[in-house]
């Protein structure tokens, strides 16, 4: 949505995208669980060149009493981009976009976290985008879900996220920065396949009704795979040490 595509860049050629992927292909995914010693739970998630680190603390009693909810734990999420995560240095101060995404990611997690088990406490989720190449909010939801599981916070299901975009009229899964900038639409989705719930759905750009339906089902299929990766990452952590680390 940033005007014409620059010279020499071909977003689609012979049905393949600029990085050689087919429309429904995800970027290479890497996930690691429990990589920070000082956090109660942590995870690192990579979708291609997008890298997000998640750290979870809690449930714990908050220092500021006004956060206390009498009937459940308050989920506090901070989505933040490191100054070095983008081409141009990004100011470390929370931008309008980051404040919004913190809220969006929080709402993507709230339906699965059993917060009512821990009234009067807070659960803190810190998300640091280390490298941004499109799809950071969906990678952040994915990383947060893994870190919450690592912290032992009871969850109804794991959540995964992916964005579907439209380039030159073709729907593509897991858009990167370039496709996001010059595509006609971008639709981030997060869902918990185990319980069949969509927890995040945003769209900027234009899709027809038919395209929207197709895009949503493409996203859900991709999320099935993302969550399968999450489960693998958790199992791997336990099989390696035969017990897992706290």
């Amino acid at each position: 949505m940033a005007g014409p595509v620059p010279e020499g860049v071909e977003l689609l050629r012979d049905g393949r995208r600029h990085d050689g992927r087919l429309p429904e292909d995800l970027r290479p995914i890497r996930m690691q669980v429990g990589i920070l010693n000082n956090a109660d739970g942590s995870a690192l998630v990579e979708f291609g060149r997008t890298r997000v680190l998640a750290a979870v603390y809690g449930p714990r009693e908050p220092h500021q009493r006004f956060y206390i909810l009498p009937d459940r734990a308050a989920l506090r999420v901070r989505y933040h981009m490191a100054p070095f995560s983008t081409d141009e240095r990004k100011s470390p101060a929370p931008s309008r976009r980051e404040i919004e995404l913190s809220k969006v990611v929080r709402e993507a997690l709230e339906p699965v976290v059993l917060a009512e088990e821990f009234p009067r406490t807070v659960i803190d989720v810190f998300l640091e985008v280390l490298q941004a190449d499109g799809g950071t909010r969906t990678a952040a939801v994915t990383a947060a879900s893994l870190a919450l599981a690592d912290a032992g916070i009871p969850m109804r299901a794991l959540v995964g996220g992916v964005a579907v975009g439209k380039i030159q009229g073709v729907l593509v899964v897991d858009v990167d920065e370039l496709e996001d900038m010059y595509g006609e639409a971008d639709m981030p989705v997060a869902a918990a396949p185990d319980i069949g719930e969509i927890t995040l759905l945003q769209l900027n750009g234009v899709l027809t009704r038919e395209e929207f339906r197709t895009a949503l089902s493409m996203a859900l299929r991709a999320i099935d795979r993302v969550v399968e990766f999450e489960k693998e990452a958790i199992r791997r952590t336990y099989l390696e040490v035969g017990g897992g680390q706290e």
Partner: protein
């Protein structure tokens, strides 16, 4: 550690469906509209009595229960009570009156000289219902300030494994390391050992049990580890 380490069961992740025969134990196994689901990472394994499958949680956040004996760490001092970290989301409270066993007299009694920040106490949970702080008492046999030995911390989920079936693992540890070991429900363990070497060995053994809980042949490996270490250190 060498030797074959096989997990005694299949790893279950949050959201995974469990067989109907698994007992619901909220919040770790929930009944989600007729479907049994795990909400934390755990193991699905055969029951020892052959009665189907059971879910063993590998993660747990300690929630105090009245009657639990816990090891607390003094983290703050109030006018007439101490705030105690009990390795739980909730900070517990111990009143000066309870500690002294008589009414607190501010003109005579000094809170700071009774218990300091950083002191460990063995205490019993008197009351807790998630609407207010857990209340502790130190009135009882073996309760009060811990004055010697060492306290180590493990995940509360691994407490049953350190104790073992019918206390088997705990007895083995005590026998082989010659330490007196008390395992509190909140994942803190108090050790009183004859010397520093045995204490170090016991701590290492406990850490191995935490790391390798629910792997096959763990007890044998622990015995071998302790004997080996004692031979090297000549204790």
């Amino acid at each position: 550690m060498s030797g074959e380490k096989q997990l005694a069961g299949h790893i279950v992740v949050p959201g995974e469906q469990l067989p109907d025969e698994v007992e619901a134990s909220p919040p770790y196994v929930i009944d989600d509209e007729g479907v049994k689901r795990a909400t934390v990472v755990g193991l699905l394994r055969e029951k020892s009595d052959g009665g189907g499958k059971a879910f063993v949680k590998l993660k747990e956040i300690y929630i105090p229960q009245p009657g639990d004996v816990v090891i607390g760490l003094i983290q703050g001092i109030g006018i007439m009570n101490w705030f105690v970290d009990i390795n739980s989301p909730y900070v517990a409270v111990l009143s000066a009156q309870d500690f002294l066993g008589r009414p607190f007299n501010p003109s005579v009694d000094d809170m700071h000289s009774l218990l300091k920040v950083g002191d460990y106490i063995k205490a019993k949970v008197v009351a807790f219902d998630k609407t207010r702080s857990p209340l502790l008492t130190v009135q009882g046999e073996g309760l009060g300030r811990i004055i010697r030995g060492k306290v180590v911390e493990i995940s509360p989920a691994k407490v049953p494994r350190v104790i073992g079936r019918k206390m088997s693992m705990l007895k083995t540890l005590e026998e082989k390391t010659e330490c007196k070991i008390f395992v509190a429900r909140n994942g803190r363990i108090h050790l009183e050992c004859p010397n520093e070497d045995l204490e170090a060995i016991a701590v290492m053994a406990i850490k191995i049990i935490e790391e390798e809980a629910y792997t096959s042949g763990l007890t044998k490996r622990i015995i071998k580890f302790i004997e080996e270490e004692r031979r090297i250190r000549e204790v």
